[in-house]
């Protein structure tokens, strides 16, 4: 019996009687991080990193006492199986799950990124026999610029908008990229406004003792002049919605790994796209996998067929696994186009008309 099985409820450790990031209610769930495709409501008990606790409470409203928080590296024994969490670098509180039984070690990555973003904890490669990795950006076209370069580009764009008296609206996930952006923008933008969804996450984290730059929540009573030339951070559900009207004139910048490809920026009808992701890029994935020393790799959500074929060709035994991860609450980085935003009418659509050589 393998230490972790892939069942229709999720990743299951039968020996330890617990699931990892199950997509259906179970008795005991170990949670890698608080994004809604990994942390779902209805389970009896949750084990997660200390900083994920307030986020689960915010998002899942679990019964009091059902969520247990631990520190990275702390070992919990569940029915004889040793379980510990280790930084995954994805978002605040995000962790890889290390599972050990009789000397055999499996690691479930959850979502991860290998660059240290300064707030999520630096990704730690854990030696193991079997590694279960994500593959959201598992193609060599995805190679991120270092964070300081991205922040510079965002900062330049904000300055350009300021010069034109435009509000800069940055579209970012409410958990993860929103906090990262704050960190990068606080030095250049003294006053930052946020959407309610981001405000809630911000408050939960600040109350849990995380140090974050101050933000101001956008509420209906704020005078419109306040936003002039300022920075606003909002989730993609706000993009193109009436909520945005108060910022007019504004420019929209989308922060997502998918912005690496020009067509996606155009599809989103964004004024700017910043290829900034909380997932590992191609080199990050390969480096992390190699560093685990794993003999066998299971590849989940993303470009799983591509990444596993490549690993096999390089002599690392790999297989793809179907899971229900990858559809985030804000439209999911995976199904990028499906963000709940209302489509904007493209006034210039005529310019894109295919020239068929006739009227």
């Amino acid at each position: 019996m393998p230490l972790i099985e892939f069942t229709d409820k999720g990743l299951y450790c039968a020996r330890g009687l617990f699931y990892i990031d199950p997509w259906q209610p179970v008795d005991k769930a170990v949670i890698t991080h608080a994004h809604s495709d990994h942390a779902r409501p209805g389970s009896g008990g949750y084990l997660c990193h200390r900083l994920t606790v307030p986020l689960l409470e915010l998002r899942l409203a679990p019964p009091p006492g059902s969520v247990m928080g631990v520190e990275w590296g702390e070992t919990i024994v569940m029915n004889g199986v040793k379980v510990s969490l280790h930084p995954a670098g994805h978002v605040i509180g995000s962790s890889q799950v290390r599972v050990e039984y009789q000397g055999e070690v499996w690691v479930v990555s959850g979502d991860y990124k290998t660059e240290n973003d300064g707030i999520s904890g630096a990704f730690e490669a854990i030696r193991c026999h079997v590694f279960i990795t994500e593959s959201t950006f598992g193609l060599p076209i995805y190679n991120w610029k270092p964070q300081p370069a991205i922040f510079r580009a965002v900062g330049d764009w904000v300055a350009e908008n300021q010069a034109r008296d435009k509000t800069s609206v940055l579209i970012a996930y409410s958990l993860g990229k929103a906090q990262r952006l704050l960190l990068g923008l606080a030095p250049v933008a003294p006053e930052i406004f946020v959407h309610g969804a981001i405000w809630n996450v911000h408050q939960a984290l600040v109350n849990a003792g995380v140090e974050l730059p101050a933000v101001q929540r956008v509420t209906p009573d704020l005078p419109r002049e306040w936003f002039k030339g300022k920075v606003v951070i909002a989730p993609s559900s706000a993009e193109g919605s009436p909520w945005m009207r108060r910022f007019n004139p504004y420019a929209v910048g989308v922060c997502s790994g998918w912005m690496q490809v020009r067509g996606n920026v155009r599809r989103r009808n964004a004024d700017a796209g910043f290829a900034m992701s909380d997932h590992a890029d191609w080199k990050g994935l390969l480096g992390a996998i190699e560093a685990t020393g794993a003999e066998k790799v299971f590849v989940t959500h993303g470009f799983q067929a591509t990444l596993s074929r490549y690993l096999n060709e390089r002599g690392i035994e790999a297989a793809e696994v179907k899971t229900e991860y990858g559809e985030d609450e804000e439209g999911g980085e995976l199904s990028d186009a499906g963000d709940g935003g209302v489509a904007r009418t493209d006034v210039d659509a005529g310019e894109e008309a295919v020239d068929d050589g006739k009227e």
Binding site: L139, P140, I141, N143, K145, D156, W258, Q260, V261, R262, G263, N264, V265, R266, R267, N269, A270, D271, A272, G273, F303, T306, R309, Y310, E313, S335, D336, A337, G338, A343, D346, V347, D348, G350, E351, E352, D355, D356, G357, K358, E359
Partner: protein, 545 residues
């Protein structure tokens, strides 16, 4: 900022322009970006820029397979992974730009756009090794945006979402010349390598003035009820022909043919040379290039027949006799060397009739004017359009001038309703451009007994939201994968609209459609309710001759 400390090279400036144009969502922003470019760039680069955006592409000296190989050599990636990347990005130039390792120092960024284009042109005479060394060395010295643009220059296909009209407007503003004048001056046959910017804009371009066409006046689709157009007597109605819009130019000792895509097509239609001695020197006719059969005064062959003529390099006697190409004239833009575009249509039409009648050649025909006394009568006439091989009506105000580009108000096209058929989605492939990494290119099937028979592809007609929905369905319901193509569970039903149908030996279904697109998603229908192959064949019988 870093930008201001460096001297920006021409190529980098051009790449920055391409990025700005590619992401800006408003026409005004694009105009501003272009105007800035025309103010700051060096003259030689401006000339090339105009050439590129008006479809004057330099000859390809490096092919895509070579680019592909040289990139693979630099990156060491296996071929299948390269292909996988390409299908996700949907653009070869961009795929390569993304795959190449980011260079540390950009030494070559000081070179101009003209430098690279001339260097690429010279490569035509070199052997493969020299080409490779040049391209790889360029890549190594460029940043990602520059590489993208550089690759685009090599592969041709420069389309980044701006119309020629926008370029013309920006040029007109920065040069202080009227837009219609600019449009005329930059059209025609000129070589960017030997044309100076000042000469081009002043109308003394090095190219042969003789062949220079006028920018076409294009109509919008009719938006309101007919009576809103006012008095019928103010309007001229004609059939809308399904061929290629073209200009016949008779000047000096020559006869030229331009397509609306600003392509000089003189060589493809040798029958037009017969008009040379029949048309007065200094005349320019606007009309439709069309496959012309016999009958009185003429019969129009289906577009598919015309396509057999456009597609080939050398026209044989057999082609000429099978599909003779005629010209249906509907406007006169120049007469006796004088620009007539400012005169009213009624006057141009009278002179056109005189010119065409005097020429008296069976392949040069006047576009008939449809007589009608009230709007109802015209609406009735329209229902008979398809039988005449026409795709609807054109309505032109009799006092209209011949304008530049697509304009509302004086000219309208009123197409007949398309043919439609319900079909099921069976294959999907990822799209290109703004549809990159989304399954948006579909193949559809109709039923034939127990079988599904594919009969057309369609790429357009769905909203972004619907596309996302179909994309999610494809990802969850793939049956098989053939390279980039996914076989999809036959479940989603769409109404496919098209303008015409012709017999085709190349397609399994035996038919080829003209302008197929998705009319709407029939969520109310299941795969059991789609149309049959017999229904398609019936349409072929009725409309496909």
């Amino acid at each position: 900022m870093e930008k201001n400390e460096l001297v920006i090279g021409g190529m980098r400036r051009f790449a920055e322009l391409a990025v700005r144009l590619g992401t800006s969502t408003k026409t005004n922003d694009r105009l501003e970006a272009l105007e800035e470019y025309f103010t700051e760039a060096e003259d030689a680069d401006k000339v090339w820029m105009i050439a590129l955006f008006s479809g004057r592409r330099p000859k390809r000296t490096v092919n895509t397979t070579q680019l592909w190989e040289w990139c693979r050599e630099v990156t060491g990636l296996p071929g299948w992974l390269f292909e996988e990347s390409y299908h996700t990005v949907g653009d070869l130039a961009e795929t390569i730009a993304l795959l190449l390792p980011e260079a540390g120092v950009f030494e070559g960024a000081g070179e101009s756009l003209a430098y690279y284009l001339l260097a690429l042109a010279r490569l035509g005479r070199e052997d493969e090794g020299v080409k490779k060394a040049f391209v790889q060395q360029c890549w190594a010295s460029m940043n990602r945006d520059e590489r993208f643009v550089f690759n685009k220059l090599i592969t041709g296909g420069f389309r980044i979402g701006i119309s020629q009209q926008t370029v013309v407007n920006a040029l007109a503003r920065s040069a202080g010349v009227d837009a219609s004048v600019v449009a005329h001056r930059i059209s025609g046959d000129w070589d960017p390598a030997s044309t100076a910017y000042s000469a081009l804009l002043s109308g003394e371009g090095g190219g042969s003035d003789l062949s220079r066409p006028y920018p076409f006046y294009l109509a919008y689709a009719l938006e309101e009820e007919l009576p809103a157009l006012g008095v019928t007597a103010d309007w001229q109605a004609e059939w809308k022909w399904d061929g290629i819009r073209g200009q016949l130019i008779r000047r000096g000792e020559s006869m030229f043919v331009w397509s609306r895509g600003e392509e000089l097509m003189t060589e493809k239609f040798p029958e037009y040379q017969a008009f040379k001695d029949l048309l007065p020197v200094g005349s320019v006719l606007d009309g439709e290039i069309i496959g012309m059969g016999g009958g009185l005064p003429f019969a129009v062959l289906p577009f598919a027949a015309l396509q057999t003529r456009i597609g080939r390099k050398n026209v044989t006697k057999k082609n000429l006799s099978e599909v003779p190409v005629g010209f249906i004239a509907y406007d006169l833009l120049e007469f006796e060397g004088e620009d007539w575009r400012g005169r009213p249509l009624a006057e141009r039409r009278r002179q056109l009739e005189a010119v065409v009648t005097a020429a008296a050649h069976p392949l040069l025909q006047l576009s008939p004017v449809i007589a009608f006394d009230d709007w109802m009568e015209l609406a009735e006439a329209r229902t008979g359009a398809r039988e005449r091989g026409s795709e609807g009506l054109m309505l032109k105000r009799k006092d209209s001038m011949y304008q530049v580009g697509r304009k509302r108000g004086d000219w309208w096209k009123w197409k007949i309703d398309p043919l439609v058929i319900d079909a099921v989605l069976v294959y999907a492939q990822k799209g290109h451009g703004r549809r990159s990494n989304l399954y948006t290119d579909y193949t559809f099937a109709v039923r034939s007994g127990e079988q599904l028979v594919t009969f057309t592809k369609a790429y357009s007609g769905l909203t972004d939201k619907e596309l996302a929905e179909v994309d999610a369905f494809v990802k969850k319901n793939s049956l098989e994968k053939f390279g980039p193509v996914r076989t999809v569970k036959p479940e989603l039903v769409f109404e496919i609209a098209f303008e015409g149908i012709a017999a085709s030996a190349r397609h399994k279904s035996g038919v080829a459609l003209r302008f197929p697109r998705i009319n709407r998603w029939r969520k109310d229908k299941g795969p059991a309710e789609i149309d049959t192959l017999e229904a398609l064949k019936k349409m072929l019988e009725v409309y496909g001759k």
